[in-house]
Symmetry: C2
Subunit: 439 residues, 2 copies
C-alpha cells in the first residue's frame, strides 16, 4: 500500500524515559545477549541454567498430567479444560494451590493459595511490588549492594528511589541497614522495603547465616519495614545444609517472597510467583489480601500468566508429589561439580605460594551460580571487551551490579552454564589475561 519510502520520525533520547540513559539499565540485555556478540568465547557472564537438564519436551508434555487432574477435580471433559486453559483466566493464576503445596513441602512455607500471585517470570513479581507498594513519592526501596540488577533497574525506570545497603560475605549488613533506614526516615521519606537474596546471593555468591536471618526479621519488626526475599537459588545448596528461607521464619507476614521455576525447570516457562500474607485494612476496618489488591496491577502489566505454561508446571508438580527436591538433585550435583571445577581451576591458576595470590582472591560459595573474584586492578568495560576479544572469556565487572563505588576490582564469575573442561580452559584464559595485565 505504501507508495513512498518511509521517512521515519526521529526522537531524541530526551524524549524517552530518563533512566534509559543510565548504563545500569542495559546490563540485563548485556547479560542476556553478550554471548551472541562473542560466540567463540567461553562465557562466565550470564546466570543461564544448564540446558542439559531442561527436559523441554517432558515438561511440555506434563500439561496432560494437569489436564487429567483437572478433569477429575471438576468433572468436566478434557475439551472443556483445554478450552479454559487456552482462554483468558484468573488474573492471579490457576496453580496457586499447587504452589502452596510445593512451598509447604520444599520450603516449609505455609501459605494460603489465595496469598499467591502467579507471574510472568519472577521479574514481573518485582514489577508488582514496585508499582503496588513503592509508588508514593516518599517511598524508598533499600537493597543489598551489589544486587540483582533486575530489581534496581526497574526501580530506576519507574522513578523509585533506591538506597544501597552494604553487603558483606554473610549478606546484607544489618548495622548499615538500621543506619540507612534511620537516614531515610530523617529525610522525611518512607523506607518501605528491603530487597535481599539470602540464599546464594546474586552477584556475590554469599549466603546469609541463620542467626542473621532471624536478626533481619527482628530488625524489620523493630524498624517497621517489609522484606522482599528473592529466592531463585535456594534449591542449589552444595553443602547439604538446610537453610530456612526468611519467609519460613516470618511470624508477622513482613516477608514478600518471590520464587521462580527458571532455575529448577527452565527459563522460558517464564513462571514466577509472589507470596504475601499482608492484609490491607481500610478506615472502616474492612480487610483485603494484598494479593487481591495487586491483582489489578497484574492485569494491567500482562493480563494473566499463560495458563498453558501454568498447566505444564502444575503437571510437573502433581507428578512429583509437589516436591522438586528429587528432580533438582542431579542438577544440583552438576552445579556443585562445576563450582568445584572452578575453585580447582582458580587454585591451579593461582596456586598457594604464587606471589599473585595475595592480590588475586575469590570466595567459596556454598551454593548458587556465582562467585566473586577480586583482582589487583580495576576491571571495567574496556577490560571486559579486551578479555572477551583477546582472551576469549567473558566475565562481568562487579561494578555492573553495584550502586556505590568500591567494587571496581571485582568480577562475577558464573559457573552454571559451562562444562568442567570449559571452566578449566576459561579460567586458564582468564588467569593469563590477568597476568598480562599486571605484567
Amino acid at each position: 500500500m505504501k507508495t513512498a519510502p518511509l521517512v521515519a520520525v526521529s526522537l531524541s533520547p530526551r524524549d524517552l524515559n530518563a533512566a534509559l540513559g543510565e548504563p545500569q539499565l542495559s546490563v540485563m540485555n548485556f547479560l542476556n545477549e553478550v554471548k551472541i556478540h562473542y560466540p567463540q568465547a567461553i562465557s562466565f557472564s550470564a546466570g543461564r541454567p544448564a540446558e542439559d537438564f531442561f527436559h523441554v519436551r517432558e515438561v511440555t508434555a506434563k500439561m496432560d498430567r494437569f489436564l487429567e487432574e483437572e478433569c477429575r477435580r471438576t468433572g468436566l471433559d478434557e475439551a472443556a479444560i483445554l478450552g479454559s486453559i487456552g482462554q483468558y483466566g484468573r488474573t492471579n493464576g490457576i496453580i496457586g494451590p499447587h504452589l502452596a503445596r510445593h512451598l509447604a513441602i520444599d520450603e516449609h512455607i505455609r501459605v494460603d493459595p489465595e496469598d499467591i500471585v502467579v507471574t510472568s517470570g519472577c521479574q514481573e513479581a518485582m514489577a508488582l511490588v514496585l508499582i503496588g507498594l513503592l509508588r508514593r513519592r516518599d517511598d524508598v526501596l533499600l537493597t543489598a549492594d551489589p544486587t540483582y540488577i533486575g530489581m534496581t533497574g526497574l526501580a530506576r525506570l519507574l522513578g523509585i528511589e533506591v538506597v544501597p545497603v552494604a553487603c558483606g560475605a554473610h549478606g546484607i549488613d544489618l548495622h548499615d541497614l538500621a543506619r540507612q533506614v534511620a537516614k531515610v526516615r530523617a529525610a522525611g521519606k518512607n523506607p518501605r522495603a528491603v530487597y535481599a537474596i539470602p540464599d546464594f546471593n546474586n552477584p556475590l555468591g554469599c549466603d546469609m547465616p541463620h542467626d542473621r536471618r532471624e536478626a533481619l526479621l527482628a530488625l524489620a519488626d523493630k524498624l517497621d519495614f517489609l522484606i522482599v526475599e528473592d529466592n531463585p537459588y535456594g534449591m542449589f545448596g552444595y553443602d547439604d545444609v538446610a537453610r530456612a528461607t526468611l519467609k519460613s521464619l516470618d511470624r508477622h507476614g513482613r516477608v514478600i517472597y518471590l520464587g521462580t521455576f527458571s532455575k529448577t525447570l527452565f527459563p522460558s516457562l517464564r513462571l514466577g510467583f509472589l507470596v504475601t500474607d499482608i492484609r490491607v485494612r481500610d478506615e472502616h476496618g474492612a480487610s483485603r489480601r494484598l494479593t487481591e489488591m495487586l491483582s489489578p496491577i497484574k492485569s494491567l502489566t500482562t493480563v494473566n500468566t499463560s495458563a498453558l505454561l501454568q498447566a505444564m508446571v502444575g503437571g510437573v508438580l502433581i507428578d512429583a508429589d509437589y516436591s522438586l527436591r528429587r528432580h533438582v538433585a542431579p542438577v544440583r550435583d552438576h552445579y556443585r561439580t562445576n563450582r568445584d571445577a572452578m575453585l580447582d581451576a582458580l587454585e591451579g591458576a593461582f596456586p598457594a605460594g604464587d606471589p599473585l595470590r595475595a592480590s588475586v582472591t575469590w570466595n567459596r560459595p556454598n551454593g548458587g551460580f556465582f562467585l566473586t573474584m577480586t583482582l589487583p586492578f580495576p576491571f571495567d568495560d574496556a577490560c571486559l571487551e579486551a578479555c572477551a576479544a583477546q582472551a576469549g572469556v567473558i566475565v562481568v565487572p562487579m561494578s555492573y551490579f553495584a550502586l556505590t563505588p568500591g567494587r571496581a576490582n571485582q568480577i562475577r564469575l558464573s559457573f552454571c552454564a559451562n562444562t568442567p573442561s570449559e571452566i578449566d580452559r576459561g579460567v586458564a584464559r582468564l588467569a593469563e589475561f590477568i597476568r598480562r595485565r599486571i605484567a
Copy 2:
C-alpha cells in the same frame, strides 16, 4: 518451622499505589473474572474469544514445525535448538522475521524484523510504550473516549496523565483531537501520542473510515504527535471490506502498531508484539532503533517472552505460509453469525413499531466482538448486579470504559463467546430486564 500462628502485617490503602483506589482499575479483573461469580448467567461481558476454535493441542504441537525450520536454518540438531528455546534469550524476541512476513502478507505492513518487539501479550506492549515514551512529567497520552481500559488503567497506575478525546460512530473525532492537542500544548505539556483502535473499536464496536484514517495521519504530521494503533480485531471484519491499518498507510513512522495472537489463535499464548520504525538520534547524530531503546524496559518487565510460546506461534506461521487469513476464516464466519444472531435477537425483542424502539437503540458493528446499546435509563453497578443475579445475563456498563460522563445510559454487549441460542436467550432476558426497569 513456624511455631506461632502468623500475625500478618496490615497496611492501609494509603500505603499502596493511589490509582488502586480508582474503580476503573478493577475493571480488567472484573471482565476477566465476573463469569466466575455468576456461573449460571449468560455473559455478554468479556471479550473472550470462542474456545471451539482454539485448537490448543494443534498449536502446541506446531513447535515441532518451528524446530524443524530452525534446525534447517542453523544446521544445529534438535537438542541444541530445544535447549536454546528453553533458555533465556534475545530480549526483543526470536520470531521477529516470522512476524514481519506475516504482517507484510496479512496487513500490508512492511517492517524490518529488528523493528519488532515480541511481548508477553499486547498488554506488555502498552507497558513498554507508556514506560518508555511517556515518563516525563509533562508527557500526556490522548485516547479515544471510551476506550480499552488496559491502556488507560495502566497509564493511571504509572501516574501518566490521560486526556480523553471524543469518539463517535466513526472512531476518534479529529476536530476534538486537534482541540485537545492544542489545549495540552497551551498548558505547557507534551501531547506525546494518541491511542486508537481503528478496526472495530473496543468498547463501541465502530470502525474508522479510510478517509478519516488518512486525515488522522495527516493531523499527526501537522501537530507532531505519535499514534499508538491497537489492532486485536482487524482480522474480524464481517463485510469483506479490506481496511488498511494506519500502520500500512504510515509514511513517516508515526504509528506504533500493537498486535496480538489472543484472538486469532488463543489468549493463553500471551503473545503480542509492538512495531515501530522510529529512530532515536542523539546529539552526535548517532541513530538507534526505538525497539532497541525499549529493549531494556522489556528486560525489566518480563526479561523476555517465553520462547516456548514464540516457537509455537512461529510454527503456526511457518505452517500457514505466514498468512492467518485462511486459519481465521471459519472463526470470522462464526463471529459474523453471532453478530447477526445478536442483531436479530435485538430486532426481535424491540421490533419496529415497539414504542420502546425510540429509546432503546444499538449500533451495527462491521466487525469485532462488541456492540453498543443505548437505554432510556442509566445502567450502573447496581443495575449490572441486578441484571446478572435476577435476569441471569451479564453486560458491562459503557461507563466502565469512559473517562468522561455521557455514557451512563449505554452498555457494551459482546457477542464473541456465546452460541446463537445463548445470544437469543440472553438478549430475551436482557430485554425483559429492560422492560421491567422502565415499567
